[in-house]
């Protein structure tokens, strides 16, 4: 960054952050009553055979729906898993009947809970990349979306980490 006085740098930061936050919102997907937001995946170490995908699905409709499957052209397989912790032991299980998205409510896939288990990467990913996924719902059918590869949900908007 060129040398700027502090106020200048602050202003530049706020401008950049505002622009990037606006851009990040563009990844939200709206399909019928479903709105899918906060799509991200932490960068996996090299040679990592799996990665996790996180997202939030809001349902503004009068009927519940269910996320029953997912796929990605960049991975051999994608499953919906639930991670749970009991007595210091981590357990991970596929969610066989899928994940309920209640009418007027939402389903959250986030660290230490539900995640998309992305298995068998067909290419390497780094922060800033995007992972295309197809989410399959019981009623809404297939919806295309993209996960942002980034370090944490706190930096869900790239560039915001500087604050």
């Amino acid at each position: 960054m060129p040398k700027l006085p502090f106020a200048g740098r602050l202003a530049a930061c706020i401008l950049a952050a505002t622009a990037l936050c606006g851009a990040a919102g563009a990844r939200d997907v709206v399909s019928g009553p479903l709105r899918i937001t906060r799509l991200w995946s932490p960068p996996a170490p090299p040679s990592a055979p799996t990665a996790a995908g996180y997202l939030t699905i809001a349902n503004s409709g009068p009927a519940p729906d269910r996320l029953i499957g997912a796929s990605s052209p960049d991975f051999d397989a994608v499953q919906i898993h639930q991670m749970s912790m009991a007595g210091g032991v981590m357990s991970m299980r596929p969610v066989p009947r899928g994940l309920l998205v209640p009418a007027g409510g939402s389903a959250v896939l986030a660290p230490d809970g539900f995640h998309l288990m992305l298995m068998g990467p067909r290419r390497a990913f780094k922060a800033g990349d995007h992972i295309p996924v197809v989410l399959t719902f019981e009623h809404a059918g297939s919806i295309k979306a993209e996960l942002d590869v980034q370090a944490s949900a706190a930096t869900a908007m790239p560039g915001m980490a500087m604050h």
Partner: protein, 201 residues
């Protein structure tokens, strides 16, 4: 004048005893609880014979002389393991060169898939002071048993599986005795304090 001094000494003694009791009695009980597969009263730590990410033989004896930080996991783990290794990387960075005096080891509980080569590639994303250990299924089972680590294979269908496992980070002193655990998701400041106590007992 005399009485307050006596009181102070008594208070200091009580605090010291309390801390010793916490370290010596309560913490091992907590740690044992976090590993349900272990028999009650089984001490944490013990003999193991594994190979490191460069294929060299490593035993528990090789870790003596320096305090050790041990974490059991596997590279197919999408969530807890990379998070913990990322946390460890941050803690070691915060400790700076002081952390050179620690053995930090990531011990796989999935030796079938975690070869030395796989561990080495995976760990290249984290602090280079974190080194990977693997071995035969029997050797890994022995190491996990020594540390009261629970693990279990979960079938995911179509030939794939994941592992349920203990997520505790074990802090061992330079003589190989268990000091205290760091639980998953611990606050960074608390974890760094634990590591400082391990380095400067």
């Amino acid at each position: 004048m005399r009485r307050p001094v006596v009181l102070l000494v008594a208070a200091a003694l009580a605090a010291g005893l309390g801390f010793a009791a916490w370290r010596g009695l309560i913490l091992p009980i907590l740690a044992t609880k976090s590993a349900p597969a272990a028999p009650a009263g089984h001490e944490i730590g013990g003999p193991f014979a594994l190979i490191d990410q460069d294929g060299r033989a490593v035993t528990d004896k090789d870790l003596l002389g320096k305090p050790s930080v041990l974490f059991f996991g596997y590279t197919y783990c999408p969530d807890v393991c990379p998070t913990t290794l990322g946390d460890l990387t941050q803690w070691l960075k915060a400790l700076g060169p002081d952390a050179d005096r620690l053995n930090v080891r990531f011990i796989t509980i999935d030796p079938q898939r975690d070869t030395p080569k796989q561990l080495k590639a995976y760990l290249s994303a984290f602090d280079p002071r974190i080194r990977g250990l693997t071995g035969s299924p029997q050797a890994v089972a022995q190491a996990a048993h020594a540390y009261n680590v629970y693990y279990s294979k979960v079938d995911l269908g179509s030939g794939t599986y994941s592992m349920d496992h203990s997520t505790t980070v074990y802090l061992m002193d330079a003589k190989g005795h268990f000091v205290e655990p760091i639980g998953y998701g611990e606050e960074p400041a608390m974890a760094i304090d634990s590591l400082k106590r391990l380095l400067h007992p």
